[in-house]
Assembly symmetry: C2
Homo-oligomer: 723 residues x 2
């Protein structure tokens, strides 16, 4: 087991490798690009929680000026991957230690010049990036290096930074700027440490040095710190101060600190699989992704759908976080779980404002949530490939299950931890406001004596504006149930606080009775005579054709499958787990046979056009003990960022990047699927269904402030040991 991935020189893989070799520390990400790369190669140092809107373009996260930039020259000749094919090149990610190593050799004038770098984003000093550079040559040569802060950053909907100011101290460059929309300040400060560097000149945000290179490597270091207005009152001072602190240390000891954090994280998070090396490597790589982007530093932020790999999906927080990542954090890093849930408390006002905007009560959480809970989703979120016109989409106004997903997450956390504190700190209000929202959204069908949730979009986005989506109705029911249960619990355990919360939420016994009636009378589709739950009213009467038939109808590769006229819209072909997602959450209410029948019905009709789909099919197959059917879906979700075998475009819009939800799904599939981990009667229990080659599955679980080591050996009784 190597704990490493690597890639050779391939100019066609620059974007893919940028994602695959991503470094991150929860505060920021740095794409797996080379030091000499710039915007065209999608170099990005993406800052979590700092957003900007340029003109009327989409709001998206800000990429900081690139503090790790450097490039080699021989006078006018640039010697880099951008100008010549290397004689040797490899980039490598050590995901055990969170370091990125790069070695490149260039044949140059009958000499061979070799560049070897190692960089990391410090896992505790969140504002720090460090890069160690070693230069050597077969024959001595004097070269120039350009080092500095590249402000020409990659932006999808930029430029975001204006009013640049540059300050130059001995061996330091400090670049400060402001965002366009809210004039948020950001500073990147860079220091270069290396006695062999002879200063030549300054130009803009760059310094030029001369350096004598020999067969013995010449070593120097670049350190960069980044602060913005979200972090402190004076980002420039903070960046400079942090840089000064760093300068008093050295690369090796900083790296050591960094690795120790990683060690501690791996001790908690590692999942060991014996007998299946590809699965072992894939799960660890998935865990690396989750651990590296986990916001350990703040409870005002959460994890975007593409992690910290750039600006795709507007850097927004989707249901991905609660439904696909939260289980991992809750079981492994509860403080991160608490942070990302707190983000939803922090953004409750945004969700209340959104509900109001649409004429509803309660909290309508954003489909694409940014820093204050504002919904970044455009009404035109896809572009028509034929007319190049924006297409009216309904993700923003109709995908109402997000509120229920968030309420569910709070409840899940409460049930797992049996800790009321987060609920009392705002979570209860979230649940109540979400319940109010559904009551407000619902319509009553008098003739049928039932409430319905009509004109919605379920998880399967290819079918817009449907009635009574099974998952949506179920998660709304669950939300109401949670609200009613919570009301009782708080009345018992925290009556004074309940009173306050009810006052804030404008809830009285009248509303409680309404919730009860709503709960009793909200329609939930039942399995039909064949045991199949209809995804939404009328789904069964849609054209029943195969995914490949539908795919063959595409006239253009990038064409959107959904929307009003997409190839999937009037067929039973769905984008992703929908009824199966409902069974993933609520499987205990159905028989194994019903679950299996639904899996078998929906599985061949699912395109898996979303990276959220595979893990759910893996998990639900485990519910009916079919690990053979689950396994390929597990491998798909666990390798998604290794293979990059995912959609890169929705319409004409780039949607690439890393897939933390799929990574979280890999953990769930392994631990909760194959391991069958759950809590029963206040106890951790397992119900293993190991894939056939797996000899052993072992992992740690944090439960009620204690750590449990769980080991499942094929054919033996699982052991759960309190550490």
């Amino acid at each position: 087991m190597s704990w490493k991935i690597s890639a050779d020189y391939d100019p066609n893989q620059i974007v893919a490798n940028g994602n695959k070799f991503l470094l991150a520390n929860g505060y920021m990400g740095y794409r797996g690009t080379m030091e000499e790369y710039g915007a065209p190669q999608l170099t990005a140092n993406t800052i979590l929680g700092l957003y900007d809107q340029a003109e009327d373009k989409w709001r998206e996260p800000v990429n900081a000026p690139n503090g790790l930039f450097f490039k080699i020259f021989d006078q006018e000749n640039e010697i880099s991957l951008l100008t010549q094919k290397p004689s040797y090149h490899q980039q490598m990610l050590n995901y055990k230690e969170g370091t990125h190593i790069r070695k490149t050799s260039f044949s140059y004038q009958e000499n061979i010049i070799t560049l070897h770098t190692e960089r990391f984003l410090h896992m505790e000093r969140f504002h720090l990036m460090a890069d160690e550079i070693q230069l050597s040559a077969e024959k001595p040569i004097t070269l120039q290096v350009k080092i500095g802060i590249d402000t020409a950053v990659w932006d999808i909907n930029g430029p975001h930074l204006i009013n640049f100011e540059t300050e130059r101290l001995t061996s330091q460059i400090i670049v400060s700027a402001q965002t366009q929309e809210m004039r948020k300040k950001i500073t990147t400060a860079q220091a270069v440490c290396g006695s062999q560097l002879k200063f030549l000149k300054s130009e803009g945000q760059f310094n030029y040095y001369e350096i004598d290179i020999t067969p013995t490597p010449t070593i120097f270091h670049i350190f960069a710190t980044t602060f913005n207005d979200n972090d402190c009152l004076n980002p420039k001072n903070a960046a400079k101060k942090e840089l000064d602190t760093i300068m008093a240390m050295d690369f090796a000891s900083l790296k050591e600190e960094h690795i120790q954090v990683w060690q501690a994280l791996w001790e908690k998070a590692d999942v060991e699989i014996d007998g299946d090396n590809p699965a072992q490597e894939a799960i660890r790589y998935s865990l690396y992704q989750l651990l590296s982007i986990a916001p350990r530093h703040s409870d005002k932020v959460s994890i975007p759908a593409r992690g910290l790999s750039g600006q795709t999906y507007k850097g927004a927080i989707f249901w991905d976080t609660e439904m696909f990542m939260l289980p991992f954090f809750m079981h492994v890093l509860p403080e991160v779980a608490k942070n990302i849930l707190s983000y939803r408390i922090h953004t409750l006002p945004g969700a209340i404002a959104k509900a109001k905007e649409y004429g509803f009560n309660g909290a309508f959480y954003a489909w694409e949530s940014q820093e204050s809970g504002q919904d970044a989703t455009s009404d035109y979120n896809v572009t028509d490939v034929f007319t190049k016109r924006p297409m009216r989409t309904y993700f923003r106004d109709k995908q109402i299950h997000i509120s229920g997903d968030i309420a569910y997450a709070f409840w899940q956390y409460y049930e797992y931890t049996e800790d009321l504190n987060l609920l009392l700190a705002g979570g209860a209000r979230v649940i109540f406001e979400c319940a109010k929202f559904y009551y407000s959204y619902a319509y009553y069908k008098v003739e049928k004596n039932r409430f319905e949730l009509i004109d919605v979009i379920g998880p399967d986005e290819y079918h817009e504006r449907v009635y009574n989506n099974a998952y949506t109705n179920k998660i709304a029911l669950k939300t109401i149930k949670n609200a009613l249960d919570l009301w009782e619990i708080l009345a018992q355990k925290a009556p004074d606080q309940l009173k306050e919360i009810l006052t804030e939420s404008k809830l009285t016994m009248t509303e409680k009775e309404q919730f009860q009636q709503f709960y009793d009378e909200l329609y939930m589709p039942s399995p039909n005579e064949d045991g199949i739950i209809e995804q939404f009213d009328g789904y069964f009467s849609l054209e029943d054709v195969s995914v490949s038939t539908v795919k063959n109808r595409l006239l253009n590769d990038k064409e959107y499958w959904g929307g009003a006229y997409g190839v999937a819209a009037d067929t039973q072909v769905i984008k992703q787990a929908d009824v199966i997602f409902m069974l993933h959450l609520f499987g205990e209410e159905y028989t194994k046979s019903e679950i299996q029948k639904n899996w078998q019905y929906y599985e061949p009709r699912t395109e898996h056009g979303s990276s959220l789909s595979a893990c759910i099919y893996a998990l639900v197959a485990c519910q009916f003990d079919n690990q053979d059917w689950a396994y390929p879906y597990f491998m798909k979700t666990a390798t998604v960022d290794l293979t990059e075998n995912t959609k890169q475009y929705a319409g004409t819009i780039y949607i690439g990047g890393t897939h933390p939800a799929a990574n979280g799904g890999a953990w769930m599939s392994a631990v909760q699927g194959f391991g069958g981990l759950s809590v029963k009667n206040g106890q951790l229990v397992t119900n293993p269904r190991l894939p056939k080659n797996w000899r052993r599955l072992a992992f740690n679980i944090n439960f009620h402030d204690a750590t449990y080591y769980i080991e499942i050996k094929a054919g033996k009784k699982p052991s759960i040991t309190k550490k």
Copy 2:
């Protein structure tokens, strides 16, 4: 005043003239094409109420084999408009007498051959077409003529006829065939009468004759009769028998019979306008259209949206008939009004079946109704010009106002006639079933204590799936009110029959209470602070741009403006009168100032992409006494079939033909708009607002089985005289 229109030779106008010079007699239509024309020139003898579906194409009316076909030859040389440019050509419609006259001269071998024909579709002998042909030449010449029944008819979604059988008697050809779908039999029988014709040979459904032509015209006649299974048990015998009857008569006396029917119709229907000849001619031409297609022979049929001008719009009956044509017939030819309303009683089972298909109770009348009330509307009624794919449209499933339109029509007829008989003969059941439908369709919004009609399409089809369309909600309210009022009236006047009707309709006092509650609590949008009624929830927040701006966004001329992504869909630009249509029907509930404000708001936002729009803007402008604003809209609706200045395509689908709804709108605009005719306290009253040039407006009105002559002279008191 000529009572005639004519056209010279113009091969680019063949399709347009086919519409403009249409002959019809209520039973069938014959397009204004030349005798030698065939399918490529859209020759069609369209039979009302006989429909067929070929394969899985759209159901549409059947065009009978062409019994008026003939062509001139000189041996192998065809002498016709299809082979040579004429030295003279004119076609003429005498719309006072319903005859089509054609005169064509060909320069041929230093000779001039002249063809003069006059034809009509007999207005009482509904199955008969007759054509008198006169041939002359400057110099004597012997020619051949081919006369027979052309079975290669124009079809949009054909071919519809199969199993052809031909019978040949002396000077007669009888062609029988069957429709594909239901194997309905149809027979066309043709006789040629002319002693100068020397029989040469038979070939298929044609006979060849030799004829000597001199400067003195040689005259002969073609008679054709057509019967089908809808008319009698044995169409072949009926067609032959009718032909034998005809053969015992002569062309002149048949024509005389025919003209007398027209005279009688004009006596009832004519509208005289002094001082504005273009208006006079346009209104008469409009009345010709209505009179010629009025089904006087049957109460099982109604008038299609394109009359009898072909197969466009599937020959289906739309709301056009009740909302735009019925007022004319009710005031002028009450027996036709009764026939077309009876069609809706006859097709009630189809409407009940459609409601059931969608999971509703009551009667959901077809958007495009065919012979049994089945809805011919495809779920894909438009083709995308960019992808050539069918587009999912919602005319069929969401345009629910049609049921209310029909209920309204029955009620209007009852109020005007004070005659309960049609209601007792089935009309009451129609009203009750339509009320049931709306109750079943509606949803209750608990938080707002109101019923809503959501996810509908109003008259303006460019905005799909909207909530609380003002017109739809209003017509539903009116339907419920009618049902409640009717219940009371019948309880008083026909208690036994009411009991029967209630049993048939499964209505009890419980449903009556539900109707009452529905009536009390159905939401109806009120004028906002500016006095404007919002067309549907959220309409005011759509982009507010001009019609020409929207038009400039078209990438393709034939592109559909509506649908999910059409250029109008997300703007306030509407296809046709919608709120204004609501005010047309229910203006008495609003102040003149409110009506005017709404007219002024919506008028510049209306594309008038439907021929149903102009007359409503004319009528509503008259409501606030602005005949200057009304006049151009009156002229637009009254000349629609003269100018053919209408959309010829929806997507890639041909929608041309005649526009009887616009013709009915012309009558309404003149009589009810400018004349201000209405019934108040059981009396006919006028409220004239004549356009400034009009010196006199005069017309007859049938009211309570009497005829009233109404004369309005500018500046004088109008006179209403019982005849």
